[in-house]
């Protein structure tokens, strides 16, 4: 988590010209705002095959043959995947990592932003690199990249068996496993998919397929002794390291914890489970019946259901409240504690709770204009772009990051001003 106490929560408004960048460069790509709102940045094309990054109107010192996936780390450092002379790496605040690769992609950040990981390929051998240091081990293929919350551990599905195209029976003997910090499990599986690293960094759990039909969860290479007709991604309990995953039983989905079914109810669908920060509650997206979607907390679904989609679950810091985004037709909605807000949108992003859990805010878009909605009250500004709102540590103020009339704005506003 980022400590935002040191951010400027006093200056009510800061403005950076943005549209005039278009006069300086051949083109300006989509902008990104820093978490503290002090910087606005974009990939810019300087000349044919020559790219740079512009931050608050200033470019990085060096240009590159290609720049993509520009993202701010949670600690405010600006990263991009860059190419020079046919080699790829990550650049942080304009400085490329020393090591270069045949390709680098899938940037991931630890929650405090201090550790940055990417997947890398060199000579068709695959591994992960953290802060510029790649695993010692490489593999002929790698997927499902995972970074622990503190960024100290990386993991991925890796290929450890050989088979040629068309050798289906050899494939079915198992050629894949998971690797934690480059070290592969001893057990081979037909498939290894999404995985999670335990909060203490010692354990790795993954969805596995033992053959074409039997699915289960493997923890540190050992599969649960019961198999299912399908499973979805596991997560670790934040306190006690148990593993929780949706499993398919007799055509319905159930929630399992360490291979024991924990919820009484079964669902047509069940996924995207998330623990409250203290681990006392477990919520998930569920379909209680065909074509009806909602959220279940500890197995009990909200009464309200939605036709198309429920996504972006967010617990309050005390675990007492839960917000989500829902969609019906072309309408996107915010749902908090099972109640649907009156305002609807053309798009809505993951809701954010204030530290005291009294307020919920979300970035939203309607008719091509972006703004912020807080406790179902829509901020009057209609912006060309907006980023997620951020509450001050004391919960009294809110940071807005927007582009309006071609300028980037960083605004601090008392929450009560919008909440009424």
């Amino acid at each position: 988590m980022i400590d935002s106490k040191s951010w400027d929560w006093e200056t009510s408004e800061k403005v950076i010209e943005f549209d005039d960048w278009k006069n300086k460069f051949k083109w300006v790509e989509e902008p990104y705002a820093s978490p503290d709102g002090e910087k606005i940045a974009a990939v810019v094309n300087v000349d044919e095959g020559e790219f740079n990054v512009c931050v608050n109107g200033e470019t990085w010192e060096n240009t590159f043959d290609k720049v993509w996936y520009l993202r701010f780390s949670p600690d405010g450092r600006l990263t991009a995947l860059i190419s020079e002379m046919g080699e790829w790496t990550l650049a942080v605040d304009g400085t490329p990592w020393e090591d270069k690769y045949g390709y680098a992609w899938n940037t991931m950040f630890s929650s405090d932003g201090k550790n940055i990981a990417v997947a890398v390929q060199q000579d068709m051998k695959y591994s992960m690199a953290v802060n510029g240091i790649a695993w010692k081990q490489t593999y002929p293929n790698m997927t499902n990249y995972t970074l622990s919350s503190d960024g100290s551990k990386t993991a991925a599905s890796v290929q450890v068996g050989e088979f040629d195209s068309g050798e289906i029976h050899k494939f079915q003997e198992g050629a894949y496993t998971a690797a934690l910090d480059g070290k592969a499990w001893d057990t081979k599986f037909v498939n290894v998919w999404n995985m999670a690293i335990s909060p203490d960094g010692k354990s790795l759990a993954a969805e596995v397929r033992l053959n074409l039909y039997d699915y289960t969860i493997a923890v540190n290479g050992k599969p649960w002794d019961k198999t299912y007709t399908s499973v979805w991604e596991p997560i670790f309990h934040p306190e006690n390291n148990t593993v929780v995953a949706p499993v398919r039983v007799e055509g319905k989905w159930a929630m399992a914890e360490d291979n024991k079914l924990i919820w009484d109810r079964r669902f047509v669908q069940l996924w995207n489970q998330v623990f409250s920060p203290d681990g006392k509650k477990l919520a998930a997206v569920v379909a209680p019946s065909y074509g009806k979607w909602t959220v279940a907390i500890d197995g009990i679904p909200w009464k309200v259901t939605f036709r198309d989609l429920v996504t972006d679950l967010a617990f309050s810091s005390d675990g007492e409240r839960l917000a989500a985004v829902a969609k019906e037709g072309e309408t996107w909605k915010i749902v908090v504690d099972g109640k649907v807000w009156n305002n609807t949108f053309d798009m809505a992003w993951k809701p954010v709770f204030s530290p005291d859990n009294q307020y919920v805010a979300s970035r939203v878009e309607k008719k091509g204009k972006y703004t912020v909605v807080l406790n179902d009250r829509v901020w009057s500004h209609k912006c060309e772009a907006a980023w997620d709102p951020v509450f001050s540590p004391d919960g009294n103020k809110i940071l807005f990051r927007t582009i309006e009339n071609g300028n980037y704005y960083r605004r601090i506003m008392p929450v009560t001003e919008l909440a009424g």
């Binding site: 094309n45 992609w105 039909y213 055509g251 074509g291």
Partner: protein, 448 residues
């Protein structure tokens, strides 16, 4: 001629079937059949089986039947008789050799095109019954090798061509660079959260037909579309697991696709010119996951081009002069109702459109779809000879003046290429995108 016809007479060697069959016991077959029927089917199968009066009206609908001298064993009802009816009648007590023949029928003699459902007085969906047979085949581990290998690719990479995670964005960046030689400011925006549209394709495009991505990028750029492509797995909308009966894998692939679109916060997914992928995202995979309809709207390329042309977002500089005929792919026409929009597009971009007959929802199948072409070279001649009726249909269209065949579906494209080559029909085959790219105004192009 593309391949000597005599090969088709020989016994097909298919390690996927042969090895699997050798491992079977009659007990395993019985248990598997009864388990699938009891646990995974219900009123639908029962109603279909009990409603059929064996009238045979479906026969005339099937291109295999028509192409094989009206041989009743190729009629839709004949295929059911040789598979599901027998399984039900014998309560699953069938032999491994029976199952070998069931694999041949379900995987290489039926394209799941659903033309026969239109000719059945009761609307019995025989493709569904064949899908249940394929599910049993999957559970028994006797799926043909080539399509099983494709399903394995899906399982590892979430795409059907073993395209590795880095190869995908690398290919898009290569195509972007190529296209910038024509339109210097063109972008293929990767991972652009909040774009209006996510564009998704099938894996043969980055693997073998990257120019199709180039062409799509040019169309997007000229039309001023706010679009993106994902740099992560989930970009491939295809789904051979749907055709092997591996429903669990089908669901996993579709979840990946839709969750990628949801993560990117797009309002629509526009997909390239593929038919089976449309079926997988619009009908099969989404519904297996519990969605009645796609959670993020799916727009097939035909409909997308229709919207762009109708709104004047792309303008045609010079219509394609060669007379064309239009093949209606089953999944987007019978399955998606896009036949009139396809004709709007064809007339908007071509000087002369000559209808083949029958057409629209009554069009003959390409004989490649439904996973049949994905069963690979061992069945190529069977597929070609099983669609002589299509060759005759195309000859008639050619006699009427058509020189180019438009087919907005990848499987149709490949299957019809084999038909056109083998029967020496002499037609060019194109996607809509090929012609739009060629005929459109490109204001930002260097030579525009």
């Amino acid at each position: 001629m593309s391949e000597p016809a005599k090969k088709e007479q020989e016994k097909v060697v298919d390690q996927g079937i042969d090895v699997g069959i050798a491992r079977l016991t009659e007990d395993k077959i019985k248990h598997t059949i009864n388990s699938v029927i009891k646990v995974e089917t219900g009123a639908r199968l029962k109603a279909y089986v009990e409603t059929c009066i064996h009238c045979g009206l479906c026969s005339e609908a099937c291109h295999y039947y028509l192409s094989q001298g009206n041989d009743p064993k190729f009629s839709p009802v004949g295929k059911v008789k040789q598979t599901m009816w027998e399984m039900l009648k014998k309560k699953g007590k069938v032999s491994p050799e029976f199952m070998r023949r069931a694999v041949e029928i379900a995987h290489t003699e039926c394209n799941l095109c659903k033309r026969c459902a239109q000719y059945c007085p009761f609307g019995i969906d025989i493709a569904y019954i064949m899908t249940v047979v394929r599910r049993i085949i999957h559970k028994l581990g006797i799926t043909p090798l080539y399509i099983q290998d494709t399903a394995h690719s899906h399982s590892v990479t979430m795409n059907q061509m073993w395209v590795k995670d880095d190869e995908w964005p690398d290919t898009l960046q290569w195509q972007e660079e190529e296209a910038q030689a024509e339109i210097p400011t063109l972008r293929i925006p990767l991972e652009k959260e909040g774009a209006d549209i996510m564009y998704s394709v099938i894996a043969p495009e980055p693997k073998f037909q990257a120019q199709l991505i180039y062409q799509a990028a040019v169309i997007m750029d000229v039309a001023g579309v706010n679009w993106t492509m994902p740099a992560t797995p989930g970009w491939d909308n295809s789904d051979m697991a749907m055709f092997t009966g591996d429903n669990e894998l089908m669901g996993r692939l579709k979840r990946s696709h839709f969750e990628t679109a949801a993560r990117l916060k797009v309002k629509k997914i526009v997909m390239g010119e593929c038919g089976h992928a449309f079926r997988s995202v619009y009908d099969m995979g989404n519904r297996w996951l519990g969605w009645k309809m796609p959670p993020i709207p799916i727009v097939h390329a035909i409909e997308f081009y229709y919207e762009l042309l109708k709104a004047g977002k792309i303008k045609i500089a010079k219509k394609y002069a060669t007379p064309v005929t239009l093949h209606d792919p089953c999944n987007v026409v019978r399955g998606g109702g896009l036949e009139e929009k396809a004709r709007y597009v064809a007339h908007a971009i071509c000087e002369e459109v000559i209808e083949m007959h029958p057409n629209r929802e009554h069009n003959y199948c390409c004989c490649a779809g439904g996973g049949v072409i994905n069963c690979g070279p061992p069945y190529k001649m069977k597929r070609i000879k099983g669609n002589k009726v299509k060759a005759d249909q195309l000859f008639r269209a050619k006699t009427d003046g058509a020189e180019t065949l438009i087919t907005p579906c990848h499987n149709c494209h490949s299957g019809l290429h084999d038909i056109v080559t083998h029967y020496e029909i002499g037609m060019d085959i194109k996607f809509f995108g090929d012609i739009i790219y060629e005929a459109m105004e490109k204001p930002g192009a260097i030579d525009g």
